[in-house]
């Protein structure tokens, strides 16, 4: 089993989720996060609204889904397809992190392994 953590723009979440479902993912969960990568922030007002400051970190959404090993490529492809901005993509489109997940247990039944996903 592997865990895919995709950090995407919040406005892309619905598209990414639809793509995940098409790719056969059976479950996922989302986190609201704030992050910074190459895209380095926006100007925001501080105090009473006359001065500004550059905020490095921006709101992003992290989508986490645990899948069987063999779905890896198709899922990554699905995410990239749905999350990349029109044209050649834009800075801030996001990143996908892949790591190993050793086990999963379904609380309701106690089942474990791929069948529990």
């Amino acid at each position: 089993m592997i865990k895919i953590e995709a950090i995407v723009r919040p406005e892309r979440v619905n598209l990414v989720i639809a793509a995940l479902e098409d790719a056969g993912c059976t479950g996922y969960h989302l986190f609201n996060i704030t992050g910074a990568g190459q895209q380095r922030g926006v100007e925001v007002f501080t105090g009473r609204g006359a001065g500004t400051v550059v905020r490095t970190a921006l709101p992003k959404t992290l989508i986490s889904t645990v899948i069987p090993d063999d779905m890896k490529d198709s899922v990554i492809e699905a995410i990239v397809g749905a999350a990349r901005s029109a044209g050649d993509g834009a800075i801030g489109d996001g990143k996908i992190f892949i790591s190993k997940m050793d086990e999963v247990v379904r609380v309701r039944t106690g089942e474990s392994g791929d069948i529990a996903l």
Binding site: E11, R12, T34, V44, F45, A90
Partner: protein, 402 residues
């Protein structure tokens, strides 16, 4: 000048002004969190822009002179608008001019619901000035101005059903069409903050007592009756929406309850001087049913009136104008066999619809072509939310980095 009347008109003016921040929260709660600041600002800036423009030229254009279609420049800069009045007068002309200002403020704020989540803020500021001048002032003159033609044909619009609600709603339709649909929300959105919606509705309900009972321009029986029917229609509208919500889904939407209350308030606005307690139940019930149906099926319409200004203020307002004629007491209503008022109100509604829609359409078309303006934000700005893009602010800052 009567101190009781003056006290009530001062109070009413304050109440109506307070409706605009109320609307800001009502609308602000309905949008997505990334657009809450923008949505609130659209209402708040109406207070700023119209609050200035009204005293400089708006009031004069709407209420100066005696003319069928438009006022004049007699009261430019509130020149000759007297704060005092003789001992026999109930009130002075300035307090009425103030009271009217509050109407001129909230009307364009109502429109913004249609273009929420995508309208260019800079253009909006310009639009506010032009629209108040070219659309609001004339229609206010038609209905309430000295010699105004709608007043002349015997139509009855007690507190502004045509001037405020139908007018705003048709402008909303024109704006929604021209600004275009929002990106990527095929199934509609959930209100991001339901308590805000109810807070807004509560403030609106509260302020509407000033709106309607203040329109009596006296602390008298007409004001008392207007106060009562305002409350009753709001209550009936809310109740109707909740029951329809229950019957169709088994759940009672709080946003729906708030919407129903507002729909009832919209519908009773023109009628508050003419109907009684039981009539107001009819007004509220009709408003509830009609607006609910239109909201439910409006996605079949071709335009994205984001916060349903057309359904609530347009349909609610049209129903209110006709319902005024239906339920009016005193032998002038349809129930009493008289159709004169119905016909007069029908003409008033039709004229308002036509004028407001066409003029707003033209104004926005022009603004769309003005270099540096344009109607709609960039796609990435819309996606990321207008709060950051247009205001450099996030509604809520909650992450650890702050």
């Amino acid at each position: 000048m009567d101190t009781g009347t003056t006290a009530w008109l001062l109070t009413s003016s304050a109440l109506v002004l307070f409706m605009t921040p109320g609307l800001a929260f009502f609308y602000g709660g309905l949008v997505r969190g990334k657009n809450v600041v923008n949505t609130i600002m659209l209402s708040f800036m109406a207070m700023a822009v119209v609050g200035v423009a009204w005293i400089v030229w708006g009031y004069s254009l709407a209420f100066g002179g005696a003319n069928e279609f438009i006022g004049n420049f007699d009261f430019i800069g509130f020149r000759d608008v007297d704060a005092n009045a003789g001992p026999d007068a109930g009130y002075s002309s300035m307090i009425v001019a103030i009271f009217q200002m509050m109407f001129a403020i909230i009307t364009p704020a109502l429109i913004t619901g249609a273009v929420a989540e995508r309208f260019k803020f800079k253009t909006y500021l310009v639009f506010l000035l032009i629209w108040m001048t070219v659309v609001y002032a004339p229609i206010a003159h038609w209905v309430w101005g000295d010699g105004g033609w709608i007043g002349g044909i015997g139509a009855s619009d007690f507190a502004g059903g045509t001037v405020v609600h139908i007018n705003a709603a048709m402008a909303a339709v024109a704006a929604a069409i021209l600004v275009g649909k929002r990106r990527g929300i095929p199934n509609g959105i959930e209100a991001h903050n339901v308590p805000y919606v109810v807070l807004g509705a509560g403030i609106l309900w509260f302020g509407w007592f000033g709106f309607n009972a203040g329109s009596a321009l006296a602390a008298d029986g007409v004001a008392v009756n207007a106060f009562l029917v305002t409350n009753t229609a709001a209550a009936m509208g809310a109740l109707t929406w909740v029951l329809l919500s229950y019957l169709t889904t088994g759940k009672a939407s709080a946003v729906g309850a708030a919407s129903g209350a507002v729909a009832g308030l919209v519908a009773i606005t023109p009628a508050a001087g003419d109907v009684g307690a039981m009539g107001s139940l009819g007004v509220g019930l009709g408003a509830g049913i009609l607006t609910w149906l239109v909201v439910k099926y409006r996605h079949k319409l071709m335009f994205d009136d984001a916060l349903d200004v057309f359904a609530i203020h347009g349909i609610g307002g049209i129903w209110g104008a006709l319902a005024t004629a239906i339920f009016a007491v005193g032998g002038i209503g349809v129930i009493d066999g008289e159709f004169g008022l119905l016909w007069a109100n029908f003409r008033a509604v039709a004229a308002t619809i036509g004028y407001s829609f066409v003029m707003t359409f033209v104004i926005l078309k022009v603004l769309d072509y003005v270099p540096g303006l344009g109607l709609r934000v960039e796609e990435t700005e819309e996606d990321g939310g207008l709060d950051i893009a247009e205001h450099g602010e996030r509604g809520y800052v909650g992450d650890g980095a702050d």
